[in-house]
Subunit: 269 residues, 2 copies
């Protein structure tokens, strides 16, 4: 339910405006295009007994899990990326999983949060797509107005505690003459998945058919395009659904946390 | 006590040779110059109730605490930097602190390690000094055969749980015409402290007198040199001594963990 027109947040809304609209229930849908120029993030919330292992998993798998911020145990404030914000209410919509099953979609997780919860914000590919466009590289699914296709692969993540499984990737068809530049541009943004994990033949990473995607929309391509694959922030959710933790909370698809970090500050040294 | 001549490990010793000599008690002193070309690391071991907070502290303070590897809870094997190695025995010498006080210096910490301990390996400036020398930048203390001077500063680290305090820095006098190049070269190695935290006037970061250093040896300089300051891996030890954890174990000064990571693999993307 959206109690005010979505256009209220168009154009000039700051990250704080977006978060406030989420907190007050005025914005409960996608964040794509909101507060342009600021990094958006995937959210993962786990209880204390999994927090160390998940943090180690992020350290060992920085491409699928580029950690932008992590909370002190029990504190819902992301102090580094949006001081004063509240991860329990400042996203449009959340998904609550118990034992690997989706049990609720909600706009506020205060009832689930206590001193034993920790929140993790992972960089999101929205950010490097803007950088690619600014570099003159066509981003086909944005031009077509669709969601990028995502796939399960045979690329094993480095395990940590109970977290073990295969990487999820997103795929963008890139004109052959722009592929090297696409590597260069995204390499500058390790905090939002960074450089690709694979270029070319999908079968090498265990994808038999590009039309058999697991999330998102169908691929968009033109003659002369090459498939390029980046590690995807859906990876930890995909793995968690396999290991079935007692409780895990994530953002709802497309309903990201909008940080105060200007995208240009994310570029690597 | 050194049961075999130290020269046994000169020249051709591999990282595994060094670790094996530590494990068998044949090498119990400094590691400077051993297994050249491979990254060496600071060790921090803390019990479970501090492990999450320390890992968050490393994430929030990547310059003083560049995390090269972290163990699964209770597992002494650094799986990413030296598979098969054992952090309980493979360093020459350890220091055991209880409530902020040094209680033992030992060559093996197996008696302290149990399922509730976690080990952290932090990048060490030995690595970027090699890169500076290869770039033709004089490294004065290496030429003089002394230890780099280290200082407490007024630069606040970003707190995490109980971990809070000021950054420790190392200082190198760099010829003015090489300062920009020194920033460029070390920027390529964020995993071993990366670019400097300050250039020039020491007072700005709370250092009144360069001859009043807290660790290491006196500064070595020549006319036209500029003081350049890098975040130092002594920071977590300095902070832990202030917050007085029940138990914390580190390497003994200069007695680092020798990893299997070629230095060239540490350069930033």
């Amino acid at each position: 339910m959206i109690s005010k027109p979505a256009t209220r947040l168009d154009s000039d809304a700051t990250p704080a405006d977006v978060r406030n609209a989420c907190r007050t229930g005025q914005h409960t849908t996608h964040t794509a295009g909101l507060a342009p120029g600021y990094a958006q993030a995937n959210l993962v919330v786990v209880p204390k007994d999994l927090a160390y292992d998940f943090l180690v998993f992020c350290h060992r798998n920085p491409k699928p899990c580029p950690l932008l911020d992590v909370t002190d145990m029990g504190n819902p404030e992301p102090v580094q990326t949006a001081p004063g914000a509240d991860l329990r209410s400042d996203l449009p919509r959340y998904r609550v999983f118990r034992h690997g099953e989706l049990v609720e979609e909600t706009t506020d997780i205060s009832d689930y949060w206590d001193d034993s919860m920790a929140g993790f914000l992972l960089g999101c590919s929205f950010t490097f797509e803007q950088a690619m466009q600014q570099a003159g590289i066509p981003v086909r699914h944005l031009d077509a107005g669709t969601v990028v296709p995502m796939y399960r692969t045979n690329i094993a993540c480095t395990p940590a505690g109970p977290f073990t499984g295969e990487m999820v990737v997103s795929m963008r068809m890139i004109p052959a003459e722009h592929v090297v530049r696409a590597v260069e541009v995204t390499s500058r943004y390790p905090a939002v998945h960074g450089s690709p994990v694979h270029i070319g033949d999908p079968e090498i990473i265990g994808i038999k058919d590009l039309n058999d995607y697991a999330w998102g929309d169908a691929p968009v391509s033109e003659p002369g395009d090459v498939p390029v694959f980046w590690a995807c922030g859906v990876t930890p959710q995909s793995i968690a659904m396999q290991i079935k933790p007692d409780l895990m909370i994530t953002h709802a698809p497309g309903c990201m946390f909008v940080t105060d970090l200007p995208i240009h500050q994310l570029s690597a040294r």
